[in-house]
Amino acid sequence: MALSLKFYGTRGSIMSVSPERHLYGGHTPCAVVQDGEDMVIIDAGFGIANLGSELMATQDLIREDHEFHLFLTHFHWDHIQGLQYFTPVYFKGNRINVYSPFKVEVAREVLNLLLDGSYTPFNGLSSLPCEWVFHRLTKDVAVGNFTVSHRPTAHVDECYAYTVESTDRRMTFIADHDAQKSKVNDDLTAWAKGSGLLVHEAMYTEEEYKQFQNFGHSSFNMALENAKKIGAARTLFYHHFTLRQDAELAEHENRLQQAYNTKDRSLCFARENILYEVPKTG
C-alpha cells in the first residue's frame, strides 16, 4: 500500500444533486487519506455518510472500539453537516478524534448546534453513543505513521490547510482559500512545496470571482498559479461550484490541463470515489 487520497465529497457550499452534475460529484466536502491501517478523514460534509456506509459494508470493526481521526478545516456547515450520518458515531466504544486549530470550546459549540434537538432527533454530541475526543492543534501531530501539520488559509472565517506525510510521501490539502496575493498565500505555498499531491480549492471562473470575491474562494487561474508555485507532481482542484454542470467542469478542466500539464506535473478536477495515489516526494 501507498499513501492515497479518495474524495467522498467534492462539491462546495451545498449538495448538488442532478444527473448533469454527477460525474464530478455532488456531495459536500469529505476526503480520506489512507495508507494501510492509517487513515485520516478531512472534513465531514455529506460525503462522510457514504464513507460510513462503505466502512459498514466492508469492515465489521467499526461496530466497536475503533478509532477515527477527523481533521476539520473549518466549521462552515458544508464541511461538518454529514457528521450525524457517519454510521460509526452510533456505536458505543468507537472513538472519534476531532482535530482542528480552533479552540475546543468553539468546535464543541458549533457541533452541538449542528446536533441541536430542534435540528435533529438528537440532543448534542453527548447524546450519540460514540466517544468524542477534541484536540486543539498547536503543532504537528502524529496519527499512526502519519504526521499531520496545518497552516491558515485566507477565507471569510478562520480556515486551515493540512499536510499529511508518511515516510516517503506528502500530500497537501488546501480547503476554502482565496489565493489572491497575500502573506497568508505566500506562506501557504511555501509550506506546501515538496508535496507529491496537492488538493486546492478552485470554485470560480474569473468573472464569478469578481462577483463573489468576498466569500473567500479562488478562481481557476488563481488556483492554477498556486499549483505552479507549489509544483506537486499531481494537483486536484475541488470544491466545485454548486450548480456547475459536468460539461462545463470538463471544459474548464481541459482548458486548464492544456495550460498546465507537462511531463512532470498534471492537473485534474477531483471526482468522488476515485483513489488518487500520492506520488513519492522528490
Partner: protein, 295 residues
C-alpha cells in the same frame, strides 16, 4: 392545483448513480393554486435550485412556506434560497415550535457566523414568522391550510391544503403510533390510557387525509427495514396504503425514500404497495424528483 415534487429523498441528500432516477434532494414541494402566491412545503435541498429559478424569472411578491418540522433535511436550503435576499419579496413562514424554539431562531441559527459566511441581517426579504400549533388553520387567498401533529421526534406537522375543488395532504415525517410515542408531548398524553390515545390519534389522521385527491406520505422503510426502527420516526408503503384506503384518498405518492434506497428498491416498494391494494381503489406512485401533478 399543481403539485411539484422538488425533493423526495429522506434524511440526507445523496448523489449516487444508483438512485439518480428518483432523485437525491431532500424534502421540498411546491403547490400552485390559481389566484394566489405560490405555496412551498419545507426547504430541503430540493428548494435550492427552485430559488435560483425564481430569482431568474423574477421573484413573486409573496411566497408562503409551510414547514413540517425543523430537522436539517427539511430546512437545509434556506440560507441559499435567493428570494430571502430580495427586499421586494414577502415570505410568510408557518412552522411548528419544537422544544420551545420558534422557527425564526432556527433560521437565525443557520446563519451562525462560525457556520455560515452570510449574516442573517442580509436576508432582506420581508419575513413573517407564524408559530403553528397542531389544529391551527389558515384561510389563504384561494386555499385553506390546516395542520395536525404527526408522530416524529420534536413537533412535526402534517399539512392539508384545500381549495374549492381539490385536497392535498402532506404527511411527513411520521411513524406508526402503536406503542411508539415520538412526538413532543405524546408520551405524556398517552400515559392515562394508551389505547384510547392511539385510537384518537389514528382517527384524527384518517380525518385529516379524508377524501384527499393526493396524499404525500413518508414511506422511508420497507416492512423488513422498519423492524426495531419504529423509533426512527418513519413509516412503510403498507402503512401509508392502509391509512389512505381507510380515508378514501385517491392518489398516494411514496415519499422520503431512504438515502440508501436504490432506484430499484424505490420502484419495488411501489410495486408491492400496488399489489396490496388491488386495481382501481388507490393510485400509487413513488415520488420522482421534478414530477408535476395536475389535480
Amino acid at each position: 392545483m399543481i403539485v411539484t415534487l422538488l425533493g423526495v429523498r429522506g434524511s440526507r441528500p445523496v448523489s449516487i448513480s444508483e438512485n439518480l432516477r428518483y432523485g437525491g434532494n431532500t424534502t421540498a414541494f411546491k403547490i400552485d393554486v390559481h389566484g394566489m402566491p405560490p405555496i412551498y412545503v419545507d426547504g430541503g435541498t430540493g428548494l435550492h435550485e427552485e430559488g435560483v429559478r425564481l430569482v431568474r424569472d423574477g421573484s413573486p411578491e409573496k411566497i408562503y412556506f409551510f414547514i413540517t418540522h425543523t430537522h436539517w433535511d427539511h430546512i437545509l436550503s434556506f440560507p441559499f434560497f435567493k428570494p430571502l435576499y430580495d427586499e421586494n419579496c414577502h415570505i410568510v413562514f408557518h412552522a411548528p415550535v419544537s422544544h420551545n424554539e420558534p422557527f425564526e431562531n432556527l433560521v437565525q441559527g443557520q446563519h451562525n457566523p462560525r457556520a455560515f459566511p452570510v449574516p442573517y441581517s442580509q436576508l432582506k426579504a420581508q419575513k413573517t414568522f407564524i408559530d403553528s400549533m397542531p389544529g391551527d388553520s389558515y384561510e389563504l387567498e384561494a386555499a385553506k391550510a390546516t395542520c395536525i401533529q404527526l408522530n416524529h421526534p420534536g413537533t412535526t406537522l402534517g399539512w392539508r391544503f384545500e381549495t374549492e375543488e381539490k385536497i392535498v395532504a402532506i404527511v411527513t415525517d411520521t411513524a406508526p403510533i402503536e406503542d411508539n410515542y415520538l412526538g413532543e408531548g405524546m408520551a405524556e398524553r398517552a400515559q392515562a390510557d394508551p389505547k384510547a390515545f392511539e385510537a384518537q390519534y389514528r382517527k384524527n389522521l384518517v380525518a385529516f387525509i379524508r377524501n384527499a385527491d393526493l396524499v404525500v406520505y413518508d414511506t422511508h422503510f420497507t416492512e423488513e427495514g422498519i423492524v426495531n426502527r419504529h423509533h426512527w420516526g418513519h413509516s412503510t408503503p403498507e402503512m401509508a396504503v392502509e391509512i389512505c384506503l381507510e380515508a378514501d384518498a385517491k392518489r398516494l405518492i411514496l415519499h422520503h425514500h431512504a438515502p440508501e434506497d436504490s432506484d430499484k428498491i424505490v420502484h419495488d416498494k411501489a410495486l408491492h404497495a400496488r399489489k396490496k391494494v388491488g386495481k382501481g381503489k388507490l393510485q400509487i406512485e413513488p415520488g420522482l424528483e421534478g414530477m408535476k401533478i395536475w389535480l
